[in-house]
């Protein structure tokens, strides 16, 4: 299966471990990820503002480039996924804005590329049974809490990846890997997002609530698909662990890191050294 792949800025910098393990897992699942030859920032949150012809230029440029590779564009970062998928809907539904944007970019694009998240691709096209069949070291005996955050799920009418209040795609994946899945009530709560820059004390409170809940429920790992959630929860956790004994460590992994572990990746390729809260002690217990 050949699909276009848009890594996005953070996967090329802060979240390299996400990118590396995703490529490794894709290969195991016979998915050929073809990275766009030239790509720039998708615009992040900016395209979501009301009058967004300008904001559409960046995502549509990416979508238009993808159409020469295939009919689908895969992303991993929740921000990029949300931005590209919503921009694509506008292009499909709003002829006037489509005209303006394509005239400006001097590229033809009519919205026909399908934006898919890696989790969607795994659930809908690869199937969890196939994932299970590729597991060589089942992750039994480790309690993992799935954490979705906001942008992977909402606004649900436009994103539609899963139930916005009680999603299950990550639970199903974790089960296929053999994990002991924690029923996590705060799995769709916001981590504080970009406020880590302009209002760090508020973002810290948002993240702390999620971390306390995960720790109280005895989770040993948190799993996410968003580099910003990963950073916020990792950063805040490091500070909480340094300053008080309120929580026990719940290292935050990307779902592809866990998949790669179960499918037998060489440990040094997991990128654990990039984490602020070291996942190795929790993972060691698995004796892989």
């Amino acid at each position: 299966m050949k699909v276009a792949y848009y890594p996005g800025c953070t996967l090329a910098s802060k979240a390299k471990a996400f990118d590396q393990t995703a490529r490794w897992v894709a290969q195991k699942l016979d998915i050929e990820l073809v990275e766009l030859p030239q790509w720039q920032c998708c615009g992040g949150l900016v395209p979501q503002v009301a009058d967004a012809v300008m904001g559409l230029l960046a995502p549509v440029r990416i979508l238009a480039d993808a159409q020469s590779i295939g009919d689908r564009l895969v992303t991993l970062c929740s921000f990029c996924y949300n931005t590209l998928k919503r921009a694509n809907l506008i292009i499909q539904q709003d002829a006037e804005r489509r005209q303006k944007v394509t005239d400006f970019l001097e590229q033809q694009y009519d919205g026909k590329v399908k934006v898919v998240h890696m989790l969607e691709l795994i659930r809908d096209e690869i199937g969890f049974e196939t994932v299970r069949s590729k597991v060589t070291r089942a992750l039994t005996g480790i309690r993992v809490a799935p954490y979705y955050g906001c942008l992977l799920l909402r606004p649900s009418k436009e994103i539609g990846l899963d139930d916005p209040e009680d999603p299950t795609v990550m639970e199903q994946l974790l089960e296929a890997l053999g994990c002991d899945v924690v029923d996590f009530p705060r799995k769709v709560e916001c981590c504080g997002s970009f406020m880590i820059v302009n209002r760090p004390e508020i973002a810290a409170q948002c993240s702390a609530t999620i971390l306390r809940s995960a720790s109280n429920l005895g989770a040993q790992l948190l799993v996410t698909s968003c580099p910003l959630c990963q950073f916020n929860l990792d950063w805040q956790q490091m500070r909480m662990l340094e300053s008080n004994g309120e929580i026990s460590p719940v290292p935050v992994l990307y779902f592809t890191q866990l998949m790669a572990m179960a499918m037998g990746i060489e440990p040094y390729l997991l990128g654990f050294e990039q984490h602020l809260v070291d996942p190795r002690p929790a993972v060691m217990e698995l004796r892989l």
Binding site: C150, P155, N198
Partner: protein, 196 residues
Amino acid sequence: MKQSTGREQVARTDEIPIVLTEEARKFVQEVIRRSGERVDWCYQCGKCTAGCPVAFAMDIEPSRIMRLVQLGQGERVLKSKAIWLCVGCQTCTTRCPQEIDPAKIMDTLREMALEKGYIADREVVTFFKSFLDNIRKFGRSFEPMLVLQYNLKSGHLFQDADKGFVLLSKGKLPLRPSHNSASVKQIFEALEGRKR
């Protein structure tokens, strides 16, 4: 409509008409027109406030913002800190029983506040401007410069110095920006040319 006695009118507040001034009415209509959202459908159940992850830090909670908009209290709403604290997580939008999109209304209010020059939270605007500048220069987000520019402009000179140090030591921060900025610069220049 059923005729009622004076006594009943006092007891049933839903029948007391609320008269908006012309200015207030215009504000309500402007918000509805720009957002495309029927803010007048809000019946104050409070679900948006209950689910909002940052309501604890807001001067006016989301449901009260909705009510103030209904009442045309433009100045109070546009000068609030709350509209700048909303991160757009869309929990309210997902849960609104009237299918209103409060996150979109917040976005509309920010836009209107910017036009009027009311920025109760300068940091977030500085952050977004620094972010766009960063993309203009490098094509992709190059965080060391983004943080540097934000800190200089916001005056918080050493904010995030701790994060920068930790990230650098973990190999998470690139030392050089990536390529592919020429064509992005062209897009920005063409856009600005068009605006003038």
